[in-house]
Symmetry: C2
Subunit: 352 residues, 2 copies
């Protein structure tokens, strides 16, 4: 097969499967279920590798993602999002529940009652989302019981509680975010039990906090980025650059100003730049290099004195946030034994 | 037609056509050619409106975009990018040049000679890119002559010089960036003439600097964002919010923490956040509101004390950078006389 045109995303399948096995083995050893977040890869091929490695099912962010992965044969999906369930959402979820085990998130009395009203009897279960410190969505842990009770009384089976310790995405926050995760899940579970409800699941996990998560308390982990790694994980000290399984292949198009200008910009990499990031991505071959300017089709790289590779040469760039980069492409190019195989990014753009 | 699921992009066609007419009329009055950058909309329908309003052709960023717009009937495209022309790029450009007027950017002796070697006799013309202060790609103005001469000697017709005053994207930089643009284009044109070359075109323009561009000197303008406007232009004082023609329609999914949580995140809006931005997008209905947290499928909005609209209601959000937002969707929903019509984003993801 002819090499794809740059910029394209290349996956090192050996590194990918090693990353999947490492986390799967840790979950298995601890007796904890692994439900990887498929928003990272949006790829049925990667999902299959995760399920083959022992994942109990997938986490997704939208009903559209759930549809793609159930179509691809995944038997169990959890939409980890406080969906507003209107009649169209309900009929899509009901259709999914005829083919797979399906759960959704709820984080308010109103949302839970609305979901229950339209989904009662469908088999779709609910988990109450708890805010453990990221301050995005989710109820306070002490409010989880009343929300769960409202859902249960309106006819929805409540599986348990979940949280996303997204505040782990900061230097030195990995351990404290995991502690917040345990505390919030424990309090939320107690709140459900006080309301007379059974708690079958305490679900958490984020890639940065994963090694610090309390696997004596949690019963399920939902990491996403761990499959590939990215420059954020590299700069947080979570991923060893030698384990990063996805790079954007780019061509050197200019040496303007004595810097390297690559043909990958925000439309190939995403524009994510966390406060702790040192640039817009990292170059594995040039540890001291930094992407100092990113526009839609240019990455301008200060090579820190290294000799500029010639115009027309191809350079690997690791995106800051791999989930964002993947969602910009239609294909992952999987490299295995020297050959490249196209893996469709089947759930790209499935935002609803 | 059933309303699309949120998050989706809605275009107000009346505002769009007014934005197109305003800039087209200004260019016509000044006797300057208008060649809008199609990377903003990636839509044949919008391109057609621009051409109907008097644009001489389109600017694009990649050969793939050029192919989409020539397929859609555009007779004249300029790839405003310092392409590295390998044999595959050359054969695609040659094929395009059989159907349309085609030009590309060059910004180095090596790149110009490489392009000329593979494109000589094809009809594809070149423009030398000049850096006027954005410090992305482009030669220094005084080096434009030698690069143009190298291209010309190797067999490429050189049309003139172009620049992108991208440093206009900063508060109070609009006028100074336009002055830099004129100075660099004038010096570059002089450099070409010193090398014995004719200069048919001095091309510039960015949406923020557009009103300040020297239309006595420039002979072509290439703005992109002006078609829709976005939160960046709003916050730079370039777009009146009442003229912004594209919004992301989002659903309120949570009131967690007393804030508004919308179902549009970076995968629907893009993650762009310039240093001067006050958040990740703006809400036309709530001037004081700010998007204080953005993740892939959530926008968390501080409504600054306003009453929270109820769960399930639909709210308009203006993306920070409209070009990035458009590239995440497959369809623009064009609203005209109360009805919604799907306009395919045909060049989405055409990064090469």
């Amino acid at each position: 097969m002819r090499s794809p045109r740059t910029p394209y995303l290349r996956v090192d399948v050996e590194r990918l499967t090693a990353n999947l096995a490492r986390v799967a083995n840790r979950a298995t050893a601890a007796g904890v279920a692994l439900r990887p977040h498929a928003k990272t890869h949006k790829s049925p091929e990667v999902a299959r590798l995760q399920l083959d490695a022992g994942a109990v099912g997938l986490t997704v962010a939208t009903i559209g993602e759930a549809e793609v992965f159930v179509d691809a044969g995944c038997p169990d999906v959890f939409v980890a999002f406080p969906l507003w369930v209107d009649s169209e959402a309900a009929s899509r979820l009901r259709a999914l529940a005829e083919r797979a085990v399906v759960a959704i998130g709820v984080d308010s009395l109103t949302g839970a009652e609305q979901a229950a009203r339209l989904l009662a009897g469908s088999g779709v279960e609910a988990l109450v989302e708890v805010d453990c410190g990221h301050h995005r969505s989710g109820v306070r842990a002490s409010d989880a019981g009343p929300v769960a009770l409202a859902a249960a009384r309106a006819g929805l089976v409540v599986r348990g509680v979940f949280t996303f310790p997204g505040h782990s995405y900061a230097p030195d926050a990995l351990t404290s975010a995991a502690a917040d995760e345990s505390a919030a899940l424990a309090e939320a579970a107690a709140s459900l039990r006080s309301a007379g409800l059974e708690v079958r699941l305490l679900s958490g996990g984020s890639t940065p906090s994963l090694d610090a998560s309390d696997l004596g308390l949690l019963t399920e982990l939902r990491p996403g980025v761990y499959a590939f790694g990215d420059a954020q994980q590299w700069e947080l000290g979570v991923s060893d650059p030698a384990d990063i399984a996805l790079t954007c292949r780019t061509t050197v198009v200019s040496h303007a100003g004595g810097r390297l200008v690559l043909d990958a910009g925000s439309k190939a990499l995403g524009a994510d730049r966390a406060p702790y990031a040192t640039g817009w991505g990292r170059l594995p071959a040039y540890d001291d290099a930094r992407v100092v300017l990113l526009s839609e089709h240019h990455a301008v790289v200060d090579l820190a004195g290294a000799t500029l590779p010639p115009l027309g040469s191809v350079v690997d760039l690791v995106p800051n946030h791999v989930c964002a980069a993947v969602n910009l492409h239609d294909t992952l190019w999987a490299r295995r034994s020297g050959s490249l195989e196209p893996w469709p990014i089947a759930a790209r753009g499935r935002n609803s």
